[in-house]
């Protein structure tokens, strides 16, 4: 994996370390990062995005605790071997929760009933 695969938005309300973990979670759940694949070093990510290396370490550490990544001795971080197969549908659905909450909030603010929103969403999902 290359450091450029990550997108960092420093001025977003979400802390940078969370942005990194969130993207790793998606890339792994979506299969773009395969089990065993090596991650760029902390220095590469920090250097490429001009961010503090401690932020990257913190993100990697958190991802390791969550079982997304594992530390390979002498090689650095890699995508955990068992990860992808064990992701159930409900686990993958849970990754969408923040966006769903956001969508639901906007829909309420626009005083839209659930039905047309769901209809449009179903179309977008291609069913």
């Amino acid at each position: 994996m290359d450091a450029s695969l990550l997108t960092i938005q420093p001025n977003a309300p979400e802390p940078i370390y969370r942005q990194i973990v969130e993207q790793l979670r998606r890339l792994i759940a979506g299969g773009q990062l395969a089990a065993g694949e090596l991650l760029p070093s902390v220095r590469d990510v920090a250097g490429f995005h001009a961010i503090n290396p401690m932020t990257v370490s913190r993100a990697y550490g958190l991802a390791e605790t969550e079982g997304l990544l594992e530390r390979l001795r002498g090689k650095g971080m890699a995508v955990a071997a068992t990860r992808r197969a064990s992701q159930s549908e409900s686990q993958r659905l849970a990754l969408l929760e923040p966006q769903m909450l956001e969508l639901a909030r906007h829909a309420r603010e626009l005083e839209l009933p659930a039905e047309p929103v769901l209809r449009r969403l179903t179309r977008l999902l291609g069913d």
């Binding site: 001025n11 940078i16 250097g47 001009a50």
Partner: protein
């Protein structure tokens, strides 16, 4: 802060100040500022123009004698720094003026001799990358070019403590990104402690581990960057619910329609104030820039 704590803090902190006050022509610029930096941390100092950022930096480094309070660099009183401490410290003012009769290259060659860890190769390479003519007199350079040369001077000395006053103003976006990269990697890998002031908040969000908001001569907030983003938010209450607003808020603004915006903080259990759960209430996450604007207004 009690005496014991104070003692340990300025023995280990590369830079620390207690109770700094200062005034110019009768108006208070600093009104009692305590600030200490942990080794290896990158502290971003934010404030509006005229908030006292430069004065605070100068007082912390002993370049200005404050009205009251004291400052320490590597545990030594800032006003009486020894040569050893000076060799481990680099400071870039907003408008460097020293040694204007030399060319950029002459200045770097001259200054380099005073620093045991001078990186001449870095200086040469960066002059070229930042498109600075090594043989032009410093006096003939634009203020921006002048500050760029001075940034190179500071970085080439490989300091343990790097202090930059508004470094971003002189740089185009590409050079600015390069400077941030240098600052971030040096802090992370060599343990360089960095203090930099800016009003460009997004620069600070990339590299800073902590921020301090200076407003009207006081530190309003001092917090880790990530924690700040997670801990504060804007709570909006419609006019009908504004009476239920929490008493504690960092800022409070009433709009023309009677609705209320507040900057609120999570409690120890991570919950927002109760009013956030009222019908019609909204909690919006805040970027640092928004937070800064909300509390500095």
């Amino acid at each position: 802060m009690n005496a014991v704590l104070k003692d340990t803090a300025h023995n280990t902190a590369p830079l620390a100040a207690w109770g700094l006050t200062h005034c110019y022509e009768g108006s208070n610029v600093l009104r009692g500022v305590d600030l200490a930096l942990e080794p290896g941390s990158v502290l971003g100092l934010i404030g509006r123009n005229g908030a006292g950022k430069s004065t605070l930096i100068r007082a912390m480094l002993g370049l200005l004698q404050p009205l009251s309070g004291s400052a320490f660099v590597f545990g030594e009183p800032a006003l009486k720094l020894g040569d050893d401490a000076k060799a481990r410290l680099a400071y870039v003012p907003q408008q460097p003026e020293a040694l204007a009769w030399l060319t950029a290259q002459q200045m770097l060659d001259f200054v380099g001799r005073f620093y045991p860890r001078w990186d001449a190769e870095f200086a040469r390479r960066t002059l070229e990358r930042w498109k600075l003519q090594p043989n032009k007199l410093l006096a003939k350079l634009s203020p921006g070019e002048r500050q760029r040369v001075d940034l190179i001077r500071a970085l080439a000395s490989q300091p343990e403590l790097l202090v930059l006053d508004e470094p971003a103003a002189a740089l185009d976006p590409v050079a600015r990104r390069e400077l941030l990269r240098e600052v971030a990697l040096r802090a992370g890998e060599s343990g360089t402690t960095v203090l930099f002031s800016t009003h460009i908040v997004s620069d600070l969000e990339r590299v800073a581990s902590e921020i301090a908001f200076l407003h009207e001569g006081r530190l309003l907030l001092r917090c880790g960057v990530d924690e700040t983003k997670e801990r504060y938010a804007r709570l909006w209450l419609p006019a009908s619910k504004s009476a239920a607003a929490p008493a504690q808020a960092l800022s409070r603004r009433r709009h023309d329609d009677g609705s209320l915006s507040l900057v609120v903080e999570r409690d120890a259990q991570g919950r927002w104030p109760e009013a956030a759960g009222l019908p019609g209430a909204r909690v919006d996450a805040l970027g640092l820039e928004d937070l800064f604007v909300e509390i500095a207004e």
